[in-house]
């Protein structure tokens, strides 16, 4: 009986998938399910909660701090992702050319991505310091400004500063992935295009971009997910200040759930991030992977 089962392809397939399925179940499905469930309770750290239905969500929707954090998160994600994409693509195209010391330059480009975020965030914290910023210092010495820039003390300055730090960290990831994509494009396409008299811009628009779209879809999905759920950078730079202007949903969720002990509310806030993340994934899955787009045309 057992021998027969073990000779059955389907059964064997299931058996081999079991460990992975168990891993996914224990380390992904269960925590996610538990987190979502906690969002519907009034659990505190150290006290099991009781079911309160949508109460947490109702409160958060009306809570000005939570609303602000949603706005901040969207702004942070959209602004940083667009710039990361443009800069990343640009950098990838540059790196794809024949430049001296190519592999060394490529390795150097990856550095910001390799440095642990907590450490690079501390460096940015000093760069943005209200009293010690080397940026402000240089600009005052050059006579361009007469007082230090309040990078993290003014709501909009702080948002832009945080976005800039995130871009610095995120560009290498985008660039290197797109570079890998660029290298899969066969040079014969470019030869054919130039024989037909295509300008460099036309080559980019009708050869590079369409063939790169699948990679762009994957890379940007990841980039958006990472940015949307960013925590470390903000926690080191501002902890959500000034006036909660840089509080992301992830940092506010931590502040409420762990520091404040309101596990249920924090979980609810984290759960509220899921629809946005799903939307980002759906967009890339159904949109960017469309054959029509990849072939350089629009929807007909």
């Amino acid at each position: 009986m057992l021998t027969r089962l073990l000779n059955n392809r389907n059964f064997l397939g299931l058996l081999f998938m079991l460990p992975l399925a168990a891993l996914l179940l224990v380390f992904l499905t269960y925590p996610l399910g538990l987190g979502t469930w906690l969002g519907f309770t009034d659990a505190k750290i150290g006290r099991a909660g009781r079911w309160v239905g949508l109460e947490n969500f109702e409160y958060l929707v009306g809570d000005p701090v939570a609303q602000l954090s949603l706005f901040n998160t969207l702004f942070y994600t959209i602004a940083a992702s667009i710039v990361k994409f443009v800069l990343g693509l640009w950098l990838a195209i540059l790196l794809n050319r024949h430049i001296p010391l190519k592999s060394l330059v490529r390795a150097v480009v990856l550095l910001p991505f390799i440095v642990p975020t907590a450490l690079s965030a501390i460096a940015f914290w000093w760069l943005y310091d209200a009293q010690f910023s080397v940026l402000s210092w240089t600009l005052t010495r050059m006579g361009l400004i007469d007082r230090y820039i309040d990078f993290l003390g003014d709501p909009w300055n702080a948002r832009f500063s945080a976005v800039a730090a995130n871009i610095w960290r995120g560009v290498p990831f985008v660039a290197i992935c797109l570079l890998a994509g660029l290298q899969t494009i066969s040079p014969s396409y470019y030869e054919a295009a130039s024989l037909d008299g295509a300008t460099p811009w036309q080559q980019f628009r009708f050869v590079t971009l369409p063939l790169l779209t699948p990679i762009i879809a994957v890379v940007m999905t990841f980039s958006v997910l990472f940015t949307f759920t960013d925590f470390q950078l903000i926690y080191v730079l501002t902890r959500g200040g000034p006036l909660n202007a840089t509080h992301l949903m992830a940092t506010l969720s931590f502040q409420r759930a762990i520091s404040g002990g309101s596990l249920g509310e924090g979980a609810a806030l984290a759960t509220l991030m899921i629809p946005f993340l799903l939307a980002a994934i759906m967009f890339s899955y159904f949109g960017l992977q469309r054959r029509a787009w990849q072939q350089g045309g629009g929807d007909k």
């Binding site: 150290g46 209200a130 009293q131 007082r147 993290l152 200040g241 309101s262």
Partner: protein, 440 residues
């Protein structure tokens, strides 16, 4: 028959009453002679979780004291250190799952979040209170619940105004004014002289919360009344916010972004003439090899925060407490350790090694030499004596902890001070947020 009965009855009651009287009157005296009596279980082993030291001497002496305890009672003690902000969630989880360290050295109202999981340590606390001049009122509030001690207060991380004497003098003031009105004038004068002060308005857990609560309370504003009803949106609160607005105009730029270390850095660099902080700024200057900082040492002075219209001190500082979980297999050994660490032979050297960073919860330790060896230490002696608890004037528990962790008061003051919201609006918004946590 009935007559004798009554006489007998009277006699008995008299004896009982006398006994009770002697008991209450002389018990502390009797205790004072003997050491705490809990006998550790044989083969006991203890695990202690405490916050990671702020000054090196603290940990050295603490561990030496623990070693002395182990040798004296034959109890093995393991001490784990965690970053000070990580102790709170870890202790809460230990309470929830019913296993973990026997003793936690935690913060603020931690014990009030799971009082039923903690061992009643009234015997230890009463013994120590009787022997060492009694607990300060604020320590009693932090340590007790419904008349029972659920924690033994270990100390208070002191906070005070730190200022540059020469710059305050140059602004025309001899020291820090004792009242908020005079203090505003000083801050304005400092600003006019080009040597402004500043207090943290970013998410500074310690420095930010400390001065923000002082400001609110100094004008009579309170988050809740004695019963825990939210009364934050009051004329007193608005008055404190108006004051905050005027004060903020005198600050050095950038205070909205300040986290805990920011004011230390700015002060030591000579960019801020006055701020609120622990004794760490002074020690950083004193222990620095940098000659520029050495020069600063003589100029650094400490003072109490000024008193507002309420007419009494209204400061907030960090209270740290030791508590013992019911799941501990060796409660007597743990109690013995709690008492041992607080005995003068151990506590005095520890307090001294903490160089004024920590101050005492028991009145007798006011006479510790650390407070007089350097006159600049003395201000930090009176932490527990003058401070209020962060849940003031309401009860301690989940609500008070969550409200402070969500920076409700600090956000309100930052909003009003920076002018991003009017004082009235800021008070209304904070009131709504506070109601969320105090609704239970």
């Amino acid at each position: 028959m009935s007559h004798t009965d009554r006489r007998k009855f009277l006699a008995t009651t008299a004896t009982v009453a006398a006994g009770a009287a002697t008991g209450t009157l002389f018990a502390p005296e009797a205790f004072a002679q003997a050491a705490f009596s809990a006998k550790p279980e044989t083969g006991a082993k203890l695990r202690v979780l405490r916050w990671k030291r702020f000054v090196a001497g603290d940990e050295e002496v603490w561990m030496a004291n623990v070693k002395k305890f182990s040798e004296k009672f034959g109890v093995e003690v393991r001490v784990d250190n965690e970053g000070w902000e990580d102790v709170r969630p870890k202790a809460a989880v230990a309470a929830n799952v019913g296993s973990g360290p026997d003793i936690v050295v935690g913060w603020f109202d931690d014990p009030h979040q799971y009082p039923d999981k903690l061992v009643d340590v009234s015997d230890v606390a009463n013994y120590l209170g009787g022997k060492y001049g009694g607990w300060y009122d604020v320590c009693r509030k932090y340590g007790t619940r419904e008349g029972k001690w659920i924690a033994v207060p270990l100390g208070v991380i002191g906070n005070a105004i730190v200022y540059r004497d020469s710059q305050v003098k140059a602004a025309g003031f001899d020291g820090i004014p004792k009242d908020t009105a005079g203090f505003l004038k000083l801050m304005q004068a400092l600003k006019a002289k080009g040597t402004p002060g500043g207090f943290a308005l970013g998410k500074a857990v310690g420095d930010g919360n400390n001065w923000a609560h002082w400001l609110l309370w100094s004008h009579g504003g309170k988050m809740v009344d004695e019963k825990g009803n939210v009364i934050l949106n009051s004329p007193e609160t608005v008055a404190s916010l108006e004051y905050a607005k005027q004060l903020y105009e005198t600050f050095v730029p950038g205070t909205l972004s300040w986290l805990d270390p920011s004011n230390n850095k700015a002060f030591l660099d000579g960019q801020v003439s006055l701020t609120g902080n622990g004794i760490s700024v002074y020690y950083a200057a004193k222990n620095s090899p940098d000659p520029r900082l050495k020069e600063l040492v003589a100029d650094i002075q400490h003072a109490r925060f000024p008193i507002g219209p309420v007419g009494k001190p209204t400061e907030l500082m960090q209270v740290t407490q030791m508590f013992l979980f019911k799941y501990s297999k060796f409660p007597n050994a743990a109690k013995a350790l709690l008492a041992f660490m607080m005995e003068a032979e151990q506590y005095n050297p520890w307090l001294q090694a903490s160089i004024g960073y920590t101050s005492q919860p028991l009145k007798a330790f006011e006479s510790n030499p650390i407070w007089t060896v350097d006159p600049k230490h003395t201000v930090y002696r009176d932490g527990a004596k003058i401070m209020l608890d962060h849940g003031h004037a309401g009860p301690l528990g989940y609500s008070s902890a969550a409200a402070m962790a969500d920076y409700i008061v600090l956000d309100m003051i930052a909003e009003a001070a920076s002018g991003s919201k009017s004082p009235k609006e800021a008070a209304e918004r904070a009131h709504k947020r506070a109601e969320r946590y105090y609704k239970v």
